[in-house]
Symmetry: C2
């Protein structure tokens, strides 16, 4: 049996989302068919608003609402302007903000260097970061790219670019995750934890 067009379209659209296979897509579609009227409308409105009302901050490239030049964090006078934390994605900003342990500014690269996928320094917001440092007033750049091959390569590249400019360049600590189990830690995490062991005072 061919499904009616509108249902098939909805399933196809859902299936394009990451982590949503054809089965989940049809489950979601049929759920929406039976769901209270407002849910599908609310989703449709949210989707339209998402693309039309969200833009990127012209300073740090984090997400912000259309009409604002700078995001809330860049605008804020309460945050340290001399520390920049470099992350890959806006979601990483969110994760760091949730810790409530960081008071500086951010810079969102929107990706990592990846020669295999053909992503070079021009394809992510690297030049913009270096320009921010060149403007002066920055004392420390914290590299908070992901602890992956691409994240590490990007951090290394940035380190080479930034060190000659006289700023302090740091990298988030590696080691055992809190609540983790030594027994289940992978070899390279354990090696890093060992190499980065700290004096107990």
């Amino acid at each position: 049996m061919l499904l009616p067009g509108p249902i098939q379209n909805m399933i196809t659209a859902f299936a394009r989302l990451p982590g949503v296979g054809p089965k989940t897509a049809s489950r979601l579609t049929f759920f929406l068919l039976k769901a209270p009227d407002d849910l599908a409308d609310e989703m449709a409105a949210s989707l339209t608003a998402l693309r039309s009302k969200i833009t990127y901050c012209q300073v740090c490239f984090n997400i912000t609402e259309v009409g604002k030049e700078e995001c809330e964090i860049c605008e804020s006078k309460d945050r340290q302007a001399d520390v920049i934390c470099v992350v890959e994605d806006p979601l990483d900003v969110l994760a760091l903000e949730r810790t409530e342990g960081y008071q500086g500014k951010y810079h969102v690269l929107h990706g990592t260097l990846s020669p295999i996928e053909g992503i070079g320094p021009e394809d992510i917001k690297l030049r913009e970061l270096i320009a921010r440092v060149d403007q002066g007033g920055v004392t420390e750049v914290i590299l908070a790219t992901n602890p992956s091959m691409e994240g590490d390569a990007t951090a290394m590249y940035l380190q080479q670019q930034l060190l000659p400019k006289g700023v302090q360049v740091t990298r988030l600590a590696r080691g055992l995750p809190v609540g983790g189990d030594l027994e289940y830690a992978d070899q390279s995490t354990l090696l890093r934890a060992l190499a980065g062991r700290q004096m107990m005072k």
Copy 2:
């Protein structure tokens, strides 16, 4: 940091879908932000179309496009009109159609009897099924409700209602699922498989 309103709304909308928690919801939202322009638009259009272009078949209550009185299956002259397969949801029709092993018609109940949740015979499409049988021309009703407590109770109720009308009432076979492992089958499945054992010819 507070997320911009449009992003927060999208996350809230996604999180109302079944099986989507707040983390998945924000992952999907940020994916859509970066996704090619057409995806969010396509989803928004699909959602609107879903509610405005889909309705229920007036005979079997399966989904069909607005403007059609009957669904494709009810309209079809190639399908046996004297066999009705009773299912809980439109998704169940889809599952049975995928088998390509059924050539009769359907009847979608849109739920099951559930005294605990206060769902009685009037709340699902039971009366409409009985009316179809009363119209005549039906020789067999296959009860294909889910093998759950509510599905079984609904099947039992239907059996009581339909048997006096002189139609054959059947129920889908219970037993070990194909590809399943006897060792991991639960007790009641195994009991059913044992009770329903079949002669090898």
